[in-house]
Symmetry: D2
Subunit: 232 residues, 4 copies
């Protein structure tokens, strides 16, 4: 996602988090090297831990008072079904897939809603001042025999995003629900899946990037995208 935005001629500031320091540092360096105009800021964060999210948000708020775009993209998958999965699956998945986005958004919203940084005066109703992308899933829409707690967390995430959209309407903050099917990520790299059978991460990023660059009065509410051949 960052790659798509980093190609802009104007430099952006990126605030990235991940659980593992080494991996995060590596990603940060790589992005910084490829896109010297951008400023890459990284901080480890365990999004399943509310206090860790609090630290991450405090750190961002100390560095900027002008967040243009927030992309809630954290998520894990645990297989199972409501009757057969391990005890604790639901609580764990809700924490990582839904609570994390809810808490981080709540901590960053006051800054996004409060004042117009370029003028110093309070932002006016109807004035565009930020865009939140919530990466949900096609699991937010469809039920399956092996739905389990994973799908409950994705329905909840979608409910969060849909209500946030209504809540932010008069505050000039755009909210978009992105519901992708299977996307090729590192977690697929060991498998024998045909990469042509699933989408590229860049496909999602391109749609997000375009949705973030429309006229101030247009809000893309929902994007549903799947592999051309359908779900796996």
């Amino acid at each position: 996602m960052a790659v798509e935005f980093a190609q802009d001629k104007q430099g952006h500031h990126f605030f990235l988090c991940a659980r593992h320091a080494a991996e995060l540092e590596q990603t940060g360096k790589e992005l910084q090297g490829r896109f010297p105009r951008t400023a890459i800021h990284t901080k480890t964060c365990d999004v399943s831990d509310k206090s860790s999210i609090q630290e991450f948000a405090t750190w961002i708020n100390s560095l900027t008072d002008n967040i243009d775009i927030l992309i809630n993209n954290a998520g894990i998958y645990l297989p199972g079904s409501a009757y057969g999965e391990a005890d604790g699956n639901l609580e764990k998945l809700m924490e990582v897939n839904t609570y994390s986005a809810y808490h981080l958004t709540r901590l960053l919203l006051p800054g996004m809603m409060a004042v117009n940084p370029s003028t110093g005066s309070p932002k006016k109703p109807g004035q565009a001042r930020g865009h939140i992308f919530n990466i949900c899933s096609i699991a937010s829409l469809n039920a399956y025999p092996n739905g389990g707690a994973y799908r409950i967390s994705k329905y909840a995430m979608y409910g969060f995003s849909k209500n946030l959209r209504e809540e932010m309407k008069p505050h000039g903050i755009k909210v978009t629900h992105v519901l992708p099917g299977a996307v090729y990520t590192n977690s697929w790299s060991g498998s024998d899946i045909d990469p042509k059978r699933i989408m590229e991460a860049a496909d999602v990023a391109k749609m997000v990037y375009t949705a973030a660059h429309l006229s101030p009065q247009a809000c893309v509410e929902e994007i549903i995208m799947r592999p051309q051949l359908g779900d796996l």
Copy 2:
């Protein structure tokens, strides 16, 4: 809900729980008095507490191995919006409105799925053996400016129910999502709302009762009902 079923000529066993002992005992006595053919069993349970749900389920499983109908109806409402509500709202609402149904269902399902109590032999695929009603809400479908954590929990509950339906298909257990709008309950009694403006609890109960008495091969998946004049 119990009243509707208690009117059957054949006696049923009811297993009711509530948080407050006095209120629960009162309800139990009243039902037993009106419907002498039924057997009313009551037990206090704090559905926001996983161990309390475990005790309730163990108690039921000790009294019967043949649950016909499970109605997940626990729920509380807390007002708010994602950006303005009290910290902890989401966790509390998820526990009471969603986790409670998820955990109780998981604890009772093995008995419902396992054997046919009337024959002692394992139930066969396609053989009807139980019906689970999940009382969701129109808040599971629509987003509003004051949606807040309440609506997140109701989306999650609906996701739970929809996936459970798919999971239970081959096991002969029916699953129905009930999505009612405003229903007149005790919590409205102090207000000045016109009772003709909202539904009666009996309206929902009648639809549930009929859905529970169709042919074995028919499953009502979803019932959406609202006040005739629409949402408040």
Copy 3:
């Protein structure tokens, strides 16, 4: 459907139509014989023909000014896909499955909306005075590789019913969308389908009957029902 309502102790008037005179007469006689309290009125009508619907509506309006319940249930199925089906499929299916309900409803609504027949005075807003059931289909919700024009007509029917519900809210007329999966009807009788695999017509009728007998202030908006084992 008529059988369910005909069992009421109070006699009802039924106005039935079908394309073929002999079949319709046979059904009328059978109902009249089983339910002597009811009054069965029949008239042939080709619902694909607008003028035939006009005649049917005029005939009803000449016999009563107090329609309690209107059930739009006409429908045919033609197989196909958007790229492969016969030319004319869409026009034909729209006429029978959607236009028929639209036109008949429009012709009967003025009487339902106008006056309270029991008092002779205009009905008041909020006063229940009729209930329209539109029999849609699960084909109104889901898309399939062989969807074709049939599914287009069912989406249109559902759109008609959903908008009619909003339009009739202040007029005290209830509107219910019924979306059943496979139901055992005569058209299945020659096939080798296991009747336990699909629903009975009485399953749908029972849900409709109950929905028609709730408190005046409750409106069942939607009922989705499928074979327990899912779609065929």
Copy 4:
């Protein structure tokens, strides 16, 4: 829409139709002037007339056997409600808003499905060979008190698009449903609406353009977009 695609460095061929010859010629000349690399082909067509659509399709098929992108965008609006609108509204709106897309798509699909023009050999399953955008509306999703026949036609259009997506999956043809709210077009130019209150046509065009330029294996199925301040 054409403007967005016409900016590509590689020249495209455009086949445009409209009802009025003068307006169409004017638009064609303007585009040709601004984008000399493109080839603009125009032909008048009354999309409410099946034979006119047939002529338009025959003309296109005579000029190319390699359609990359088909955008079904014809539509008119007539106000009304199911009980109050003029007789004939439904038939007229269905013809212009839904039948036109259905018939044109059916006439162009054989060419899109048949052979790979760059190799002369039949296209293989899974091979991308075209993209159909169906411009539906938020009226395809929501019901309103003044829904009327317009919304029925938009539900039908959405049903067409959703089923077409399933039908085209194995044929490598992408299908996208675009559901925009209010967009500023000529029909608004006389009104006193604040142009900042509704979206620009370019907003929709940008999303369509990006969706048309993803990896072959990614299909954007649905895009919902509204004015930031919500529906009018």
